[in-house]
């Protein structure tokens, strides 16, 4: 085995690639070759060294020096200093103790890592790393010691429920599919993670792809399927690449393909890419898309467990569901069921966004309260502002106000509160957020993504959006709230699939929890959070204004006039209410009313 005196780990996550890691990596290889160091220093591509926030990152071992913000132009200098002269380059050095991965990083208080345990810890492009962490041991146990029925029984007893959002018992789903007549049977992994701001599945696919593959093979054995599809959205090219590489490596070791581990069980997996359609996350639309059709949902029943891909019994689970399976098999159903609440077991990953101190990816045991997640795990609201609402469950979820903060995060409690588990997006909002505007934002998304097959969703979402737009523009009329409520109910009850049925939820939940804001917009033509542009105006206060001209110089439409050291004035007819003057003023002299 070759001996290297030094190993350089370069982060190739999408964030770092977006900041030029690829060019830097090429330059590093070239420089090491031209300096004659290529036999002494090994360059490895890895993932998630730090937060990726400061650009291309690398870690140099054995010293353990963490460099950030290294571009291709810096390479000759860095190589000369560090690798030829042995001097650390402080300019790029990030303090070792302060490595903060804002997206994942070390486990935060109250976090429990089950699905994410390997992410950032192992090399996702090397199957041996996964095997060293008990990878494929669960598969060996299943193929060697367990009957398919026993596997299903173990998964059922664990209490695992679908992590894609609906929360159906995974074991029961497998049993239905196993009992369905018809062969061949298929396994699908739904990796069409389309909720804006939700990237939990992407991290698992990129950071620990084998855990998903192993879960799928075990599901295939339990159900009696020999073929699996991973349906991954085309927006995740790196995840697709990592998965394909993982599949090849598993095939090479006989963990996929004919006669897995020398048994008479055969199973193989293929990755299918979407082409940009949110609705393909709905299982019947996803199946249509795999079959090479428009990704439009169809009515259920028949459920995919009876008639799925190519009309055959098909089991479809989410990425996170499959990633849980190997550990349930290895550590047992009782271990898994020891986490969570009576009906919601295990952990759940969430992508935290919005106005909190620590945004990014977390994994917490179910049953934790919203308050614990927001204040303990995510570090509380930015700048100690008051909490206003948490939007949970993605574009089909709901907004919950402060009185729900002590609700437990489990499937039933969230549904009862008017939100939903969804796939795991959580956006936390402070008091400067307008709830009518938020409802409008989510309707804009679902309206755009409606596939157009059924009328309630196609037309209904558009009409809801138009009404919300009018209300935000100060043109709301008495009676609008009642009309909205009726229309939302119609869309919920009459749409074909989950997208349409869930689309009005952001409106319904904000109408219920923040009705007074709608009323202020409609009856008083006022936006209490001072967000809706047509309902606010900016002015400059005489006292604090020093006449420094910063606002006038930054105004994009030249709406501000005034002499140096004299009070400045905003012309309301020109002002586009962009708020830049308020942001740049150093004296808090810009007021919104």
């Amino acid at each position: 085995m070759a001996f290297f005196r030094s190993h350089v780990l370069v982060c190739v996550d999408p964030e770092c690639l977006a900041k030029g890691a690829h060019a830097m990596l090429d330059a590093l290889q070239d420089e090491l070759v031209s300096q004659g160091l290529i036999d002494e220093i090994q360059v490895l591509e890895t993932s998630r060294i730090g937060s990726c926030a400061d650009g291309p990152e690398m870690m140099v071992y054995p010293e353990g020096i963490h460099y950030v913000g290294v571009t291709e132009d810096d390479i000759p200098y860095l190589v000369e200093e560090h690798f030829l002269k042995g001097r650390v380059v402080p300019k790029f050095q990030k303090s070792i103790v302060a490595v903060v991965d804002e997206e994942l990083g070390p486990a935060k208080p109250k976090e429990v890592r089950v699905v994410l345990r390997n992410c950032g810890q192992i090399d996702p492009e090397n199957i041996e790393d996964y095997i060293a962490e008990d990878g494929y041991a669960a598969l060996a146990k299943v193929l060697g010691d367990m009957q398919p029925e026993q596997v299903i029984d173990e998964v059922t007893r664990s209490g695992l429920r679908g992590r894609g959002g609906a929360g159906f018992s995974t074991g029961k789903k497998w049993q239905f599919c196993r009992n369905s007549a018809g062969t061949p049977k298929y396994i699908i992994c739904n990796a069409d993670e389309g909720d804006p701001g939700a990237f939990m599945n992407r991290r698992v696919l990129e950071g620990d792809p084998h855990s998903v593959l192993e879960g799928m093979i075990i599901a295939g054995y339990a159900i009696g399927a020999n073929w699996g599809y991973v349906y991954c959205r085309a927006e995740y090219p790196l995840a697709v690449r990592t998965l394909n590489l993982a599949i090849r490596q598993a095939r090479d070791l006989g963990l996929l393909g004919e006669n897995i581990m020398g048994t008479n069980y055969s199973f193989d997996i293929e990755v299918r890419q979407g082409a940009g359609a949110f609705v393909c996350g709905e299982e019947t639309a996803l199946i249509a898309s795999i079959e090479g059709k428009r990704g439009e949902p169809r009515p259920r029943p028949p459920f995919p467990a009876v008639q799925g891909v190519w009309g055959k019994p098909t089991n479809n689970n989410n990425v996170e569901t499959y990633a849980n399976i190997p550990q349930i098999i290895l550590k047992g159903a009782d271990w898994f069921a020891s986490m969570g609440t009576e009906k919601s077991k295990g952990t759940k990953t969430f992508a935290i966004g919005g106005d909190v101190n620590h945004t990014g990816l977390i994994e917490v045991p179910l049953g934790i309260t919203l308050r614990e997640v927001i204040y303990d795990v995510a570090g509380g609201i930015k700048d100690n502002k008051p909490f206003k609402a948490v939007q949970i469950g993605g574009p089909m979820g709901g907004c919950l106000p402060e009185k729900y903060l002590d609700e437990k995060i489990d499937y039933e409690s969230l549904n009862a509160a008017g939100a939903m588990m969804g796939s795991g997006g959580m956006i936390i909002m402070d008091d400067e957020t307008c709830m009518v505007d938020i409802a409008r934002f989510f309707m804009d998304f679902t309206q755009d993504e409606s596939c157009g097959k059924c009328t309630p969703c196609r037309v209904g979402t558009r009409r809801i959006l138009e009404m919300l737009q009018r209300i935000c523009d100060g043109e709301g009329e008495p009676g609008d709230i009642e009309k909205l409520e009726e229309l939302c109910q119609q869309v919920q009850q009459n749409s074909l699939c989950g997208l349409g049925q869930g689309a009005p939820n952001p409106v319904v939940s904000t109408l219920k929890q923040f009705r007074s804001e709608y009323e202020a917009h409609i009856y008083e033509k006022r936006c209490p959070a001072k967000v809706c542009r047509k309902l606010i105006h900016y002015s400059i206060l005489e006292g604090p204004c020093t006449g420094c001209t910063v606002c006038a110089r930054n105004c994009p439409v030249n709406a501000i006039s005034g002499e140096r050291r004299h009070l400045h004035v905003i012309d309301p007819d020109i002002c586009i209410r962009c708020g830049i003057c308020k942001q740049v003023c150093n004296f808090n002299a810009v007021a919104v009313s």
Binding site: A18, R202, A234, E235, A275, G276, E449
Partner: protein, 168 residues
């Protein structure tokens, strides 16, 4: 648009379709990858390519049934496939909430100003198309733009002209 049109007519569409089918397969389940490949090669999927895919994939002896209207229904459904010519470089802007709140709107404005295009438009010289995309999942480095296959993170309005200048 003449530039793009001439370019398409110069290309050997049957060969491009054949190459895509050899790479991804000739079953129904390969249709999306095949169409994506053609879209990448030609910038869009012209009517000739749809006819050609049907000719090469439709095969009752293998029980693969495909017709042109079905293919057109797919091409018009998926965001990443286009029935109209696109520019040599496609600029995709992430319009999702996490990018929106960290200054995405200003970046979009800069893109519109710099390219003198609105959402969905293609420049007269056939160089640029400007479109929005759904969430790319790299929210921690927003605002994000994607030009062809290159991802740019933490983009500021000022950097936009610099980034665009890299492409010819």
């Amino acid at each position: 648009m003449d530039v793009t049109k001439n370019r398409i007519e110069d290309r050997n569409i049957p060969e491009i379709v054949k190459a895509a089918i050899e790479k991804h397969g000739n079953g129904r389940d390969a249709l999306i990858p095949v169409l994506s490949e053609i879209n990448a090669a030609l910038g869009y999927i012209p009517a000739q390519a749809i006819a050609e895919v049907r000719r090469q994939v439709h095969d009752p002896s293998r029980q693969v049934y495909v017709n042109e209207s079905q293919l057109y229904s797919m091409v018009s459904f998926y965001q990443m496939l286009s029935t109209k010519p696109r520019g040599r470089h496609v600029v995709k802007f992430c319009e999702s909430a996490p990018c929106h709140v960290v200054g995405g709107r200003q970046v979009w404005q800069a893109l519109e100003d710099e390219l003198k295009l609105k959402n969905g438009e293609t420049s007269a010289d056939g160089k640029w198309s400007l479109v929005t995309t759904s969430c790319l999942g790299i929210c921690s480095v927003g605002p994000v733009i994607l030009i062809d296959e290159d991802v740019y993170g933490n983009v500021t309005p000022k950097e936009v002209s610099e980034i665009l200048a890299k492409y010819d």
